[in-house]
Amino acid sequence: MGRITLDKVTKSFGEVNVIPPLDLTINDGEFVVFVGPSGCGKSTLLRLIAGLEDVTSGQIRIDGEDATRMAPAQRGLAMVFQSYALYPHMSVRKNIAFPMKMAGIPEDEQKRRIDSAAKALNLTDYLDRRPGQLSGGQRQRVAIGRAIVREPSAFLFDEPLSNLDAALRVGMRLEIMELHKRLATTMIYVTHDQVEAMTMADKIVVLRAGNIEQVGSPLELYREPRNEFVAGFIGSPKMNIFGGNPAQQHGAQKIGVRPEHIAASTEAGTWQGVVGVAEHLGSDTFLHVHETGLAETITVRVDGELSVKHGDRIFLTPEADKIHRFDAQGLRA
């Protein structure tokens, strides 16, 4: 079980109000991702749930029980830290055994859980090494192993992949998702990387300055961003958002079109501009188009085979039903 409810939770550090009153429900077995730019309070929120910070006001309930004043260990949650926080002087085996030793679990049960965790995480050959002798990915797996053996009601991940290189990150992302499918335990995952958020989450919570901007499934957020911030934050490359005449034609203060929802042509189209930088990814090419009169740069996704050069004139046509309209407050119209 791992149903976590936040009820009007706030957090201030002295005068600074980091989290204004915030309500959120995380259902049992969900994979929830907190995403937002740096300093948006996502890590603080996770630490509040973990019990590593005290809430200033409000209530945190875990499985219906008030956990607001509980010590971190009593909440039945396990956390994986950004720096992994392995104990450097203990072997991998002892690291994984530590929470069980503290809980007073019998030796043979400890051994059984360590073996099964090591098997699941490919750590069997490394159990007697020290963390210092392991690679980044292996350390990450030890940290996850230490979390698994506690059999927690929910896992908390604090930017666990940000210290890994790009290739390893994709691999670990898949491993964490597989782990979630297998254990079916609630997981809360903090990241600033919207690609991680989109690929992993059942439910994304977009945060800005401690406020929840939108909660929803990845595709809901992609299709119907509630405001300009979410529209710009979710999706890669970023949505093109601009005001002016074209926006007024659509009856809005500002409109947004994703790069993948604009057709490019060398002959005719709604808007025209000059090709700047072209980023070739092979399958796709991202064109940065200037002098359109809409915004300084319009990003367009075109087929990898389309051949245009720097300085070519190009015509752009947005897909009419994929245009997002925003009012003066930046809210979806």
Partner: protein, 288 residues
Amino acid sequence: MATQHARSAARLMLAPAVILLLGWMLVPLTMTLVFSFKKYLPLRGGDLGWVGFENYVRFVTSSAFWPSIWATLIIVGGVLVITIAFGIALALLLDQPMWGQGIVRILVIAPFFVMPTVSALVWKNMFMDPVNGLFAHLWQFFGAEPIQWLSQASLPSIIMIVSWQWLPFATLILLTAIQSLDSEQIEAAEMDGAPWTSRFIYIILPHLSRAVTIVLLIQTIFLLGIFAEIFVTTQGSFGTRTLTYLIYQRVLESQNVGLGSAGGIYAVILANIIAIFLMRIVGKNLDA
């Protein structure tokens, strides 16, 4: 890597410093060695020629030798235990955020700036004096008979004085070590359900082991040679005659340079034996 040319230039430029250091060390050591094989009594005939190992035999067979070794070891060991135990406790306290942290830290370090002679005199006259000392007043306040510290409890008194001087050093090194502990490790241990005592035993102490090793090694080297604290307090009486003090007495009070030099060579050997032992026992910590 440096080129051949750069390497020889580096050697050339290092040479003056190396030669100076070697000279500084080798000249006194060689002179001590030479004197230790001579009968040399400055006020009673001066250099009276070579005597072989006679000085060495006389120094060891003297009734003062073994007690002086014990006194040295007790003082060094006592000071090490006190400074490391209290150093860890103080470092843990000073690591807590508190009001006036900067000033408190400077106050804690202050004893290290006081010269050994001065601090020993202050302790002797202001604290340990059986008539006017603060301790005497404290004892009288509770209706007890004041202790004559430097004669009745001479070794503990010296250990107390020297510990007071060296505690700041231990605290400082241990404090920087505690500050370098990743706070996420403590938080992880907290999440893992470790109470404060377990966090201290399993996380903080192992993290401090390297710093403790350094404190142990450096303090041992310096403590083997403490002299001023004994000179201004007990003058080596009441069982506080350490090896260093015995050598001093042989050379200056008995005016026997040869005998004292032989003692000096024993002191060098003792320091090396202890250093090797310490390196063996705790050196492993430095590799990890």
